[in-house]
Structure formats: C-alpha cells, structure tokens
C-alpha cells in the first residue's frame, strides 16, 4: 500500500486518557457531571436538601460530642466553624474518591461502546463533587458570618486552596478508578484508608491538640489532606492557629513532605491512568 500517509487522512489511534480536542473533553466532562448531579436529586422527595443534610448532620453530631461535651477544641478560636469546614471538605474528598473507585467500571456501557478520552470519567466524578462542595461551602460561609468570624481579604484565598483539594481528589480518583479495573479489592481497601484519614487528620480536633506528641503531630501533618486543612484554617479562619511551618517545628524542608506527597499522588495517578487507558475497554 502507499507510503504517503499524509494523503490518507487522519490516523485512527486507540483509546487514550486525553486524546482529541480540549473542547470535546470539556463538553463531555461537564455534561457527564451535570447528568450525574441531576440524577442524584431526581426521585427523592427532598432532592438537594439531602446533599446539605449529610455533612450538616455529621457536623451536628460531631459538634455536640467534641465541641460541647468533650471540648477537644480547647482554646481554639471559632472551633465550630473550623469543624464544619473540615467536615465539608472531608465529605467532598471521601465522596469523590469513593465514587471514583467504581466510576470506570460503572461507565462500562460508554467505555466499551464509544471512543472518548478516558480521563473524562474521573474528571466528571470530581466535577460533580465540586458542584456539591460549592453549595456546601455557601452554608459554611453563612455559618461563619453568623458565628462572627471576622471578614478578611484572605477569604479570597479559600477558593484556590479548596481547588488544590479538588486536584488532590482528582489524583486519587485517577489512581483508584484505574486500579479498580485490575483489582476489585481496591474498594474495601479504600474504605478503610478513608476511615484512617478521617481520624488521622485534624478534622475533629485542632492540630494543636497533639502538641504533647510532636512526632504524631508531624506524621499527621504529612498527610496532604491534613496539611491542606491546617493551612486553610490558618489562612482563612484564624491567623493565630498554627500553620504547617509551626507544626513541623520550623524545619522548612519537612513542609515539603505533604506537598511532595500530594503532587506525587497526582503525578502517579495521571501516569497510571494514562498507561491503563488504552486497554481499559478490554480489561473490564
């Protein structure tokens, strides 16, 4: 056959994580995310209210238990607001990553029937989560205003920081969804890890509650999610709360540990998903 390949038209490649034009990628991601978002609230009487209720109920229980009865918050300023924000961000992270585990397998009918950039699937899961997160954050904002947290220009830093959390969630989502195709026991493993992350992050307690155990405190802060929560609290809600630099005892390179881990999760997640993408349809 002829060797003049350019004259033969566009070559057909196999499926991949990111092939095709950016606009189609965006359209697909947004459409799938909106569809998923709609589906979640169709058919239930209270619809969207449930999405608000879940973190709020969890917050209510935790608030009564840890801020009123046990008082782990100690002298931490605006602890209820911090608690609510933590719960909302953790709920987002947990929901997105849990949903992403089965995402590719659940979208089997698409994966096996049509060509589209495979990365759309984890991206749309994260985007659906972001819709919920955005609405929940409005509740946090209202609560913060009612509680009397002073309004400061640093509040503008909150969205980019939350976005970092979404990127971290995307990194995990890519890794988990691709791994699940090969090994089905990722689902229970990830459930357990999320439990560990819940208690292993300063969600229920402020990080200074661990001041007596500096090693434990620093290990906790190595978790990228925990590091993000610490920084958001410091920057947005209470500048007197410890930041990462303080937590790591002023050793600046240790601050790089959670950052590196977070970046590594995203890089490895993308790398692995990209590697698996061409064969996902066959391995399902």
């Amino acid at each position: 056959m002829t060797t003049d390949h350019a004259a033969l038209g566009r070559p057909i490649g196999g499926p991949s994580a990111l092939a095709g034009d950016v606009r189609r990628f965006a359209h697909l991601t947004v459409t799938l995310a909106i569809q998923e978002f709609k589906l979640r609230f169709f058919g239930s009487a209270l619809g969207y209210v449930w999405q608000l209720m879940r973190p709020l109920m969890l917050f209510g229980v935790l608030y009564v238990l840890f801020a009123v009865i046990i008082k782990v918050g100690g002298s931490a300023k605006y602890f209820p607001v911090v608690l609510l924000l933590n719960v909302v961000i953790y709920t987002f992270f947990a929901e997105v990553t849990t949903a992403s585990v089965r995402a590719v397998v659940d979208k089997e009918n698409l994966v096996r029937k049509i060509r589209f950039p495979r990365l759309v699937i984890p991206c749309s899961v994260v985007l659906t989560g972001c819709f919920n997160l955005g609405l929940n954050l409005i509740v946090v904002l209202i609560f913060a205003l009612i509680y009397g947290v002073p309004v400061r220009w640093e509040w503008l830093l909150a969205p980019p920081m939350v976005l970092l959390g979404a990127v971290l969630a995307l990194g995990c989502a890519m890794l988990l969804s691709a791994l699940f195709v090969r090994a089905r026991d990722i689902a229970p493993i990830w459930e357990v890890l999320l439990q560990v992350a819940f208690y292993g992050s300063p969600i229920l307690y402020p990080i200074e509650a661990l001041n007596k155990y500096p090693i434990a405190q620093q290990i906790v802060a190595c978790n990228p999610l925990a590091a993000l929560l610490i920084e958001i609290r410091h920057v947005v809600i209470d500048p007197t709360a410890p930041d990462l630099y303080t937590v790591f005892g002023g050793v600046w390179w240790r601050v790089l540990i959670p950052i590196t881990l977070g970046v590594a999760t995203c890089v490895v997640g993308y790398w692995y998903f990209n590697r698996e993408a061409p064969r996902i349809a066959e391995n399902l």
Partner: protein, 424 residues
C-alpha cells in the same frame, strides 16, 4: 443492486495490516489477596488472535459490508476502527468525521427524560452541546415521540427507546458511520424505516461501514463487502459473492458423510436389494451437506443387489422439514426398463438438478421398488439424511425459480375489465 458510489480523491477509510491480539488469562486473578497468597504463581495467558493482517480501503460514499461468523473478528475490527480498542499492529486512516454505533443510544440513562438523553447521546457522538441541543427537536420529530419528550426513558417502551436512539444516529450527520448490527432490533415497520433511511443515506453519498449477519441487507445495500473468518479476510468484493461465501462458510462446515446409520431391518421392503449409502456432491465432485441456491448438485445413492432383479424403479423424494413433498425424481415413469441387475451387483443412482429450493432444511427419501408403479418396495430409506439449503435471497417462497419481473407503467387498463385483467 446499489448504484455505483460517487468516486472522489482519497479513500474514506484505509486499513493497513491491522492486527489485534487478546491475552486470555487461564485463571483470572482479580484480587490482591489472591496475588498475595500466590506471589510466585504467574498468570498464564492464552493469546487469541482476533485480527490478523487485515487490509482494505473504503471509498468515499461507499456502503461497505463487513460479514463473518460469530467470533470471526468483525466486532473487534469495528471497535479498532472506532478507536475503542488499541490496535496491536497496522495502521488505520480516516478522512472525515466518523461516528460509531456499536450500540444504539450510548449513554442513555433510564432516569433522565428523552430530551436530556438525546443531548447526552449526541455529545457522546462528538457534537458540541450547542449542536446537540439544536438536534433535540428534529430527533424527537423523526422518532414521532413529541408527546413523550419529557417522559423519563425508563417509562418508554422498548420500541420507543429504539426509535429515539435510531433517530439520534440518523440526525447526527456524520460523514462516515460505523454501524454494528443495529437492525437486529425493532419491529418490522421500524426495520423497514431503517432500510429506507439506509437507502437514502447511500444515495446521499455518505460512507457507511456496516457489520451484519443478514445477507439480505448486504446484497440489498452494500456496494462492496468483506468476509472475515478467524481474523483474516477471506473475500472482499461483490456483495452477492461475499454473501454466498458467508453462507457456505456457515453451513458448509460439516462436509463429508451424510448418510445416517439406520437399521436395515426396520425399513420396509422385501430385501432383494438394499440401499447402502447416499450423499450430495457439488459441481466439483466434493461431498457437501449444504446446498447453495442456484447451483447444481448431484444426489447419489448406492444400491447393492442381494438377488437378481429386473427393471427396478429408483426414486428420490425430497421432503421439506414440514413434510411437504417438494420434488419426486423417479425412473418409474421415464426409464421403465432400467435393465437387469444381478445378485451382488451395485448401482449408483444419481439425481442432479439446479437447486431452486428455498432456504431451509430438507430430508430426502430413497426408494428402490420392483417394476411397476413403485408400490412393490424392495427397500425404502426415509430421511436418509438431511441437508440445508442456503441462499442470499430469502424472499419466502418454497422454490426460487429463475425469473424476471417487469413493471410496465405505460398501460392504463380499461376501467370495466380491470378486475379480469388482474386475474389473468
């Protein structure tokens, strides 16, 4: 017969040396626990060559059929073309916007209304959200589902579901379409509508690659067709030839011996001769069990004489599977004096004819009788074997005799005699 495709410059689709191999693990290791318990156990793989060195070109505006038996690789070929599977070898090129229809209604969600599903489906097919939204009305209109546009898809009947999906496919307006056996669904009137649309698309000069089992639609629509078997191209070219080759592949598998083992004692007759075996030969002299329509076959039976017999009558009766007597070939009328056969002598009785039977299964009987009208039976073997008749045209009659149909438009019948003329 389809008209010639409009020929322009470069081909719409080029496939060059395409190969695809699947690794089939012998034991499926799915969990980490299993892997942890048996760290040294290697997962052994059997490789399965789904496609091997497949090369072809499809011209612009061509209606191209891809046929093959189950597991021949045609769906894999389509999925490689669609970019769903990664090809292991070879190259493919496409010129124009291509849409894939491995299944109708990809991305349909039963909990969403028809409108949302149409948009979703169209976006999956590569349209922008704006294009997709403007598609909703024409799609709903074509599917005749205006009253149900806001109904959730789970409340649709399966026929409505298919209609909706099919009209998205038609309205998506791709230059090149890959279609996988979509006509297997829907009721007869919907299928007819599909056929009409196929005709229209062909006349519009769209390029269509069409995977099917239905040889009727191959010969009706395709300009060219390709026959796959075990991942390789067997034939590529004229649809009618490809269709008949496909049928031969499908039914001509069990060649060789056809005679069923029957107990001689249970057969009627006085045993002065016995039928030993019977078979079918095609025009090359090879034994077959499937007869293609329109070809000539020889039906042969060996008779061994156990006594001296004068002028026996030999008869073949061909029964359709519903016991309709299709044809009787006998020497009793034509060659009454068939001669003297001595004890121990054998004879081969051959009936050959051009096969005009309609597709289906047939059971011939072979009868040897004493001279006369054939009632004084020497040996009669009913259902000596069965054979299939296969043909690309399944119009429906019991026989398909070579014929010609003319339509003469110019004649206007006189009003008073019109009914008479229709009868004549």
């Amino acid at each position: 017969m389809p008209s010639e495709p409009p020929h322009t410059g470069r081909p719409a689709v080029v496939v060059d040396g395409l190969g695809k191999t699947f690794a089939v693990p012998r034991e499926h290791v799915m969990t980490i626990k299993e892997r942890a318990l048996h760290p040294l156990k290697r997962v052994r793989h059997d490789t399965f060559e789904a496609l091997n060195g497949v090369s072809f070109e499809v011209e612009q505006g061509e209606f191209f059929g891809i046929v093959g038996r189950n597991g021949s690789g045609k769906s894999t070929l389509l999925k490689c073309l669609a970019g769903i599977y990664n090809a292991d070898a070879g190259e493919m090129y496409v010129d124009g916007r291509m849409s894939t229809f491995i299944e109708l209604g990809v991305g349909f969600n039963p909990d969403l209304a028809a409108r949302d599903n149409v948009i979703m489906n169209a976006i999956m097919l590569g349209l922008t959200p704006k294009q997709a939204r403007s598609l909703v009305d024409p799609v709903i209109e074509f599917a005749e589902l205006e009253e149900f546009v806001d109904l959730k898809l789970k409340n649709y009947s399966s026929g409505m579901h298919v209609r909706l999906a099919f009209s998205v496919m038609l309205q998506a307006q791709a230059d090149i379409m890959l279609i996988d056996e979509v006509l297997a669904v829907g009721d007869a009137s919907f299928q007819q509508k599909c056929y009409d649309e196929f005709n229209r698309m062909r006349d519009e000069g769209r390029t269509i690659l069409f995977v099917t089992h239905d040889m009727g639609s191959v010969t009706r629509f395709c300009h060219r067709a390709l026959l796959l078997e075990r991942g390789r191209i067997v034939t590529i070219g004229d649809p009618a030839e490809v269709a008949s080759e496909y049928l031969e592949l499908n039914f001509g598998r069990e060649t060789g011996e056809t005679t069923t083992k029957g107990d001689v004692d249970e057969r009627p007759g006085d045993r002065s001769a016995r039928i030993v075996e019977a078979w079918i030969e095609d025009d090359t002299g090879e034994r077959v069990v499937t007869c293609m329509q329109g070809r000539t076959y020889a039906f042969k039976a060996v008779v061994e004489f156990l006594e001296d017999v004068d002028d026996p009558a030999f008869t073949w009766i061909f029964y359709r599977s519903d016991h309709l007597e299709m044809m009787v070939a006998t020497t009793a009328w034509r060659t009454e004096r068939s001669g003297h056969f001595a004890n121990g002598q054998s004879a081969v009785v051959t009936v050959s004819f051009e096969n005009v039977f309609g597709p289906g299964r047939y059971h011939p009987s072979v009868i040897v009788a004493h001279r006369g009208r054939g009632h004084d039976v020497i040996d009669r073997w009913d259902q000596i074997f069965s054979f299939m008749v296969a043909g690309p045209y399944a119009a429906g009659g019991a026989v398909d005799v070579a014929h010609q149909i003319d339509i003469d438009r110019a004649v206007t019948p006189p009003p008073s005699t019109s009914s008479l003329q229709r009868a004549s």
